[in-house]
């Protein structure tokens, strides 16, 4: 398998993977979604909550905050020496204490203070609840590592998608330069250039085939490359996209090894 990085933004990575089939590509995608651990708040101890929001709803909102995860210094609770009871190696405590003054006040995720300076909300601007004057909120939250199979809040990615690599071909002999395909393409891939139809940003093509349908002489063909996939990995901020791809590949390899061992033992 060969990987070429096409575009990288802060939390999103686009890459081209070659030499793999659909089953493999999808297994990699699902590993990123469900098998890669990330931190999330799992238990909340509400000491005081006089806000208009129920404790349960507040706890639910806390759980959804992506936390910057340090995979090296934390264990999965089920693999920890404490046998899942919760210790400093598998749990991190975050606290929040806030009282509104004479004005109403919004509580944001950045108001959470963490016991471990590395485990902090990845996004500080998430509104949690609005407090009316004098209302008070005190709670303790316990974050731990978990996997997407257990609960989607542990997913380090918001979306992982892949698509086929498009190949757009215009047959010059058949084309009559009517320009219909240029108008109909939702991604602005096609353009008139001199007396032919040229293509640009072909990787953005969604393979919708609208251009094929509208082309009366049948000059356009849309095809996809065999065994190549364009991946898009969008992180929630818990882990960087590079780490997500790297770690998932490791986990995936290990799972394949386990499956092979099992198959060989029968």
């Amino acid at each position: 398998m060969e990987i070429t990085i096409i575009r990288k933004q802060e939390n999103i990575i686009h890459f081209l993977a070659e030499g793999l089939d659909v089953a493999f590509a999808n297994a990699l995608r699902r590993t990123m979604l469900t098998r890669l651990p990330a931190m999330a708040i799992d238990e909340v101890l509400v000491l005081e909550n006089t806000s208009v929001m129920y404790d349960e709803m507040l706890a639910h909102r806390m759980g959804l905050i992506p936390l910057v995860t340090d995979l090296e210094s934390y264990n999965l609770p089920e693999e920890c020496d404490c046998e899942g009871k919760g210790c400093s190696l598998c749990q991190c405590t975050l606290t929040l204490e806030k009282q509104a003054g004479d004005e109403e006040e919004m509580v944001y995720s950045r108001d959470l203070s963490s016991q471990d300076p590395k485990i902090v909300p990845a996004l500080g601007e998430i509104p949690l609840v609005k407090l009316a004057p004098k209302q008070r909120l005190i709670f303790e939250a316990y974050a731990r590592l978990g996997k997407g199979v257990e609960n989607a809040k542990f997913q380090p990615v918001s979306t992982v998608s892949y698509k086929y690599v498009p190949i757009i071909e215009v047959n010059k002999d058949k084309c009559n330069q009517c320009g219909d395909c240029v108008k109909v393409c939702p991604k602005n891939i096609l353009l008139v250039e001199g007396d032919t139809i040229a293509t640009q940003n072909t990787l953005d093509c969604s393979l919708c085939e609208a251009c094929v349908e509208v082309c009366e002489p049948g000059a356009i063909t849309i095809d996809s490359k065999k065994n190549s996939f364009l991946f898009k990995v969008e992180s929630t901020g818990a882990l960087t996209p590079e780490v997500i791809v790297e770690k998932s590949a490791e986990i995936f390899k290990e799972r394949i090894r386990l499956a092979l061992d099992y198959a060989n033992s029968i």
Binding site: V52, L64, A132, K134, Q135, A152, S158, T159
Partner: protein
């Protein structure tokens, strides 16, 4: 009640973008451009902000103010 933290469908965090969205819409910007600039490209995430109605302020009108000592 209050803007959901994440998109129901894909799980992208949308709550932190709501304040800016509301502000720019109030200034008369086109919602489509604002959403594009916020990086909400999928329609699942876009509807989260577009279809949201904040009602926490109405709830707060009935808020009970906690008794503090000495009052």
């Amino acid at each position: 009640m209050i803007i959901p933290v994440r998109c129901f469908t894909c799980g992208k965090v949308v709550a932190d973008k709501y304040d800016q969205f509301k502000r720019e819409i109030r200034q008369g910007e086109d919602p489509a451009t604002v959403l594009d600039n916020l990086g909400l490209n999928r329609y699942c995430c876009r509807r989260m902000l577009l279809a949201h109605i904040d009602i926490i302020d109405s709830f707060m009108a009935f808020a009970t103010i906690p008794q503090t000592e000495g009052t």
